[in-house]
């Protein structure tokens, strides 16, 4: 006669057996049941599973609640479902910030990449690539970075978006043409540009009819030079050609007082003011150019842009001239910065001159096919709106959709566990 304990035990075994069978039955039913044909509201967290289901089921209406801008693959998938007959709507559970990022090659021989980024709102943004974080903007906003190297795509990630881009172009740089008289300024300017990797053609006058020349010298046109640098009045003989070159799209740098040359003053961003001496000892300070003499840029033209200033005077200015660009730098004897500056002065001098050249260089873009692993999604929110339309007005408070996987796992474990426990109990009490 079984004892009460044994009876309880047998009942428990029965319950376990029933539980296991029930779990198995539910699993079977879930596997065999037809997919729902009604519209489903899904939060962004499990879009992938939902998308897979919808692809098979083809619901009449899709409602997607997003907490961040989806990536391009997800977005395209939803759009494809929408185009295949389902009516797709989306809403944001929290404000999704508009953002944009673009990468293009910097016009320098070093192969740097220039990244421009902008985002609405003030949330922190992290900018990085496949090799890690490069920079962080604590309050978002806009930024422009020059990156010496980029691995894969450049990503700008905020709380509600991830914008990605890759440089899809390269540039064709031609030599720079430097015109000046023999002297320390021409020597060290040419040296700085060459040491930064620029190819330089030069005409340096030593005496009447005696020049030191270098590189391909010919007509000044955009097919031959990326930019022309006029260091002093020796460029006067080529003033007309330089002005025409600028109008045709070439880049021109007017250094020191060369903007006074007749023929070049028409393309200069401003007039040349009276020379202001540099601050004594300034070349060794944290702002070394304060130690240089400068011919300030005055009377800036209407489309002139002040790039650098010292106190209230503009020291470097730029303007566009028809298709070309002109930079006027009033700094005089920049070679003193390289020679008398601090330990990093030579490198900084090189970089500064290279940046000037890059700011104006005529460098046509050459398209290239992005690599397969380069993700490009430059404007996530705009692309989402473009794909699915503006956000719909709907209740965004939805419970997270049940992920069938989790339920299935649970039921399976329940069945197995119940069976095992039932078997163990039977065996332990001696039953078979």
């Amino acid at each position: 006669m079984p004892s009460p304990a044994e009876r309880v035990r047998r009942v428990a075994e029965l319950v376990l057996r029933a539980t296991a069978l029930a779990a198995l039955a539910v699993l079977l039913w879930r596997a065999l049941r037809p997919p729902t044909a009604a519209g489903v509201s899904v939060a962004a967290g499990d879009l992938t599973r939902a998308l897979e289901r919808w692809t098979l089921a083809g619901p009449a209406e899709l409602r997607v609640v997003l907490d961040k801008a989806p990536d391009a693959r997800t977005r395209d998938w939803i759009r494809a479902l929408a185009h295949s007959g389902s009516q797709a709507q989306w809403a944001a559970s929290r404000p999704i910030r508009g953002s944009a990022v673009i990468a293009e090659p910097a016009s320098e021989p070093s192969g740097a990449t220039r990244v421009r980024f902008a985002a609405a709102g003030g949330e922190p943004v992290s900018i990085g690539d496949a090799a890690g974080t490069i920079d962080t903007l604590s309050r978002g906003g806009a930024a422009e970075l020059e990156l010496a190297s980029v691995a894969g795509s450049v990503r700008a990630s905020g709380a509600t978006f991830t914008a990605a881009t890759a440089a899809r172009d390269s540039i064709a740089l031609k030599p720079l043409l430097v015109l000046g008289a023999a002297g320390w300024e021409s020597k060290f300017t040419i040296a700085a540009l060459e040491e930064r990797g620029w190819r330089v053609a030069a005409r340096v006058r030593v005496a009447p009819n005696v020049e030191v020349t270098q590189g391909p010298l010919g007509a000044i046109d955009t097919g031959r030079y990326s930019a022309v640098i006029a260091l002093d009045s020796t460029a006067a003989s080529s003033a007309t050609a330089i002005a025409r070159y600028a109008h045709d799209g070439g880049g021109v740098i007017l250094a020191g007082a060369s903007a006074r040359i007749g023929g070049l003053s028409s393309i200069a961003p401003g007039d040349v003011g009276r020379r202001i001496a540099g601050v004594a000892g300034g070349v060794t300070s944290a702002s070394p150019r304060t130690g240089l003499g400068v011919f300030p840029v005055t009377s800036l033209v209407s489309n002139g842009v002040a790039l650098e200033s010292r106190a209230s005077t503009v020291t470097v200015a730029a303007r566009r001239v028809t298709a070309g660009r002109v930079v006027q730098t009033g700094y005089d004897e920049t070679w003193r910065w390289r020679m008398a500056g601090g330990d990093e002065a030579a490198a900084a001098h090189r970089e500064w001159w290279s940046r000037l050249a890059a700011a104006v260089a005529y460098a046509p873009l050459v398209a290239r096919v992005p690599a397969a692993d380069e993700v490009i999604d430059e404007t996530p929110l705009a692309s989402l709106i473009d794909a699915l339309g503006p956000p719909a007005t709907m209740d965004t408070r939805v419970a997270p959709a049940s992920d069938g996987t989790r339920t299935t796992r649970f039921l399976f474990l329940l069945a197995v566990g119940a069976l095992l426990l039932e078997w163990a109990s039977r065996r332990l009490r001696g039953a078979r």
Partner: protein, 718 residues
């Protein structure tokens, strides 16, 4: 409870014990085998990742099955017998009671009563405890062994105490068997002590230039090739195989290749520094009047490895103008026999050098180290200069810091007198006559003293007694009248004297006469020297240095005399012009003096406007060759680093190899980058998170990220 039920309960307990024991033993076996297999796989490189644990699980399963087999023999009779063995009091009543054949026997009740009086719970518990105790302990021990196996440091780092050799080993990721047990023996050069260091599984070796490195590994070495910097190395068969090389002066990679894979080892040479030498005595340059006696010399030296010798070196320069002779020598030579620190001491006998006025001795201490590979390295101290002054020359060879010559002092004083006179002249309208006279005469007395000093200078240069004129101060008692012929000075001097005499006390007149006579004597002497009259003298460019230096001073002297006279009369306004003339003359004398003493010609100022482009010849155009970029590999290094960082998230082993290559190539061109990569490699090899270090290395490679917190109206970062 009936006996059968009790037996069944005991049976369940025993079954649980068997199952538990089997599980524990299986677990212990699995853990132990897994630990051993992990160690063995890392050492031999034969197994990797999942394989050791698969083997352990199989063995554990076998143990589990074997130890569960007794469970099948747990029948009721056996259990009853088992109980009977442990509880003799039952006297086999239990076995009988559970026998199915005796279920309805009349003795069943008696047996049940007897059995009911006996309990075997304690025995059962003891049996169960014994069954599971040892397996439980074994399981704990096996778990500990597993932890120990996983914590064995496969990455070892060894460094010799003197830093001549250091090496980094790496966990052998290499699957290629020939390199699995690669080791290196590094022997420092003989001059550095010849220390030997053995390194197992080296990844990089830092050693002195000239060190010998021998790589060896067990096995036949068939199919193994090795090269360094593109040059093939011979693979020598020994008890295994061996490759030997010498550390050069450039960082390089040793590559071992085999059909099954490749292994690289970085060689970083450490250069032997030259000795540092500090000259203690003499402590500064010296100018002597006469070179006599002995000069004490002392110095201290230091070398990073060991000094060989040291000595003092001197060069004696004699001559002037275009003709010089030189003698050199050494003294105080000392041998150090490899000591790291040393001293030098000697005495320079100046008499023996036979130095003459104008001679110079350049002295320094020099030390050599024992570098027999690329040296010896020679270090030298600062140089001291010992100079013997020329006759009559008191200036210093130092260009700056020399005390101002007498003429300079005169200029300063004359300037001060002018200022005082000007100030007095401005106050003149407000002063009483007596006050004005008193102050004016005080300035006059100072002027006179100054004139005396100038006179001394002139006399000294003319070779006369410097106290020719002013043997006394103007305030002293007047000298006896000098009836010698007075120089017939210019008419204004006569007028001046007359004016001076008018209304003056005799004492003052006598003093003035005395001054006049001295002045006259001075003027006569000057005239004799210059051959000119005693008018105010002008300096002319082609005159001899004697004239050049004295003319202005004589003019100053004259003007000062005139000024003194006016000041004595209270005529401050009339005193100022001659005072200013005196100042100008002293300035001219100062320049002339400088030119003379230093032997330099006057500065020639080129008339550019006159000579511009007047050359008969013209130059020719020429072409310039472009400069090379400063660091053409920088961009490529940055790209490779970024690629390696990206690879690290997928294949850490491959990333480590890439970084090792990049580091060695950066040692020369970008040492900061090499150091940053080394830090990251160290973290990666030791299983630490290297994210921050890799990011730092990237910042070093890329340079500062140029950024602007806005989008400007012009492209580019400004």
């Amino acid at each position: 409870m009936r006996p059968l039920e009790r037996v069944l309960r005991t049976r369940r307990a025993l079954a649980t014990a068997i199952a538990t024991r089997a599980a524990l033993w299986a677990t212990a076996t699995t853990l132990t085998v897994g630990a051993l297999a992990t160690i063995a796989s890392r050492r031999t490189g034969r197994l990797d990742g999942f394989a050791p644990w698969l083997i352990a699980a199989v063995i554990g399963g076998i143990v589990l099955v074997v130890l569960l087999m007794p469970w099948r023999r747990l029948t009721v009779p056996r259990v009853a017998l088992w109980i009977e063995e442990r509880v003799p009091r039952l006297e086999y009543a239990l076995v009988t009671a559970v026998d199915p054949a005796a279920e309805r026997a009349p003795t069943t009740a008696l047996l049940e009563q007897q059995i009911a009086r006996v309990s075997w719970t304690a025995e059962t518990r003891r049996a169960v405890s014994r069954a599971v105790a040892w397996p439980a302990l074994a399981t704990i021990a096996a778990f500990g062994a597993l932890l120990l196996a996983q914590r064995v440091a496969f990455a070892r780092s060894a460094s010799a105490p003197d830093g001549t050799v250091s090496a980094t080993s790496t966990a052998s990721r290499d699957v290629a068997s020939p390199f699995a047990r690669l080791s290196a023996t590094v022997r420092a050069p003989a001059y550095a002590g010849g220390r030997v260091l053995r390194v197992e599984s080296p990844a990089s070796i830092v050693a002195l230039v000239g060190s010998s490195v021998t790589f060896d590994a067990p096995g036949a070495g068939a199919g193994v090739t090795a090269d360094v910097g593109g040059q093939t190395l011979a693979v020598q068969p020994t008890s295994g195989w061996r490759v030997a090389l010498t550390v050069g002066d450039r960082p390089t990679l040793v590559r071992f290749r085999h059909a099954s894979g490749e292994r690289i080892v970085a060689l970083e040479p450490r250069a032997d520094s030259v000795p540092t030498v500090r000259l203690l005595e003499p402590s500064r340059d010296t100018v002597m009047r006469v070179a006599r006696g002995a000069l004490s010399l002392s110095a201290e030296t230091h070398d990073d490895i060991g000094l060989a010798s040291g000595a003092f070196e001197y060069i004696v320069s004699s001559g002037e103008g275009e003709s010089f002779q030189f003698r050199s020598g050494t003294l105080g030579t000392r041998q150090y026999s490899g000591a790291a620190n040393g001293t030098l001491a000697a005495s320079l006998a100046l008499d023996a050098l036979n130095l003459k006025p104008g001679d110079m001795v350049h002295l320094r201490a020099v030390a050599r180290d024992g570098n027999s590979v690329s040296g010896p390295g020679v270090g030298a101290s600062e140089t001291r200069v010992l100079r013997v002054a020329r006759a009559g020359e008191y200036d210093s060879i130092a260009v700056e810091g020399a005390p101002p010559p007498e003429a300079d002092k005169s200029m300063i004083s004359e300037r001060m007198l002018i200022m005082m006179t000007e100030a007095l002249d401005r106050r003149r309208p407000t002063l009483a006559r007596e006050t004005l006279m008193s102050e004016s005469r005080a300035i006059g007395r100072d002027q006179t003293r100054l004139r005396k000093r100038v006179g001394d200078i002139i006399f000294a240069r003319l070779g006369n007694n410097p106290s020719g004129e002013e043997g006394r101060d103007p305030d002293d008692d007047p000298a006896s009248a000098d009836t010698s012929v007075r120089a017939d000075s210019a008419s204004r001097d006569a007028a001046r004297r007359a004016a001076t005499r008018a209304g003056r006390p005799a004492r003052e007149i006598a003093a003035a006469d005395s001054a006049d006579s001295a002045r006259a004597a001075l003027l006569r002497a000057a005239s004799a020297a210059t051959g000119n009259g005693d008018e105010i003298l002008d300096f002319e460019g082609d005159e001899t240095p004697v004239v050049a230096i004295n003319r202005p001073l004589l003019e100053a002297y004259n003007a000062m005399w005139e000024a003194s006279r006016e000041l004595d009369q209270g005529e401050t306004a009339r005193a100022l012009p001659p005072m200013r003339r005196a100042l100008a003359a002293i300035q001219r004398a100062r320049q002339a003096e400088r030119i003379y003493l230093r032997g330099k010609a006057p500065t020639v100022v080129v008339d550019l406007a006159r000579v511009r482009l007047t050359g008969k010849d013209t130059g020719a155009a020429s072409t310039r060759v472009p400069r090379q970029p400063v660091d053409p590999g920088a961009a490529r290094r940055a790209e490779r680093l970024a690629a390696a960082i990206e690879l690290a998230s997928r294949t850490p082993a491959a990333a480590i190899d890439s970084l090792v290559l990049l580091r060695v190539e950066s040692l020369d061109a970008a040492p900061r980058l090499a150091a940053a990569i080394a830090d990251a490699l160290d973290a990666m090899r030791n299983g630490r998170d290297a994210t921050t270090l890799l990011a730092r290395a990237r910042r070093v490679a890329d340079g500062t990220v140029r950024g602007a917190g806005r989008l400007g109206a012009w492209s580019g970062v400004w």
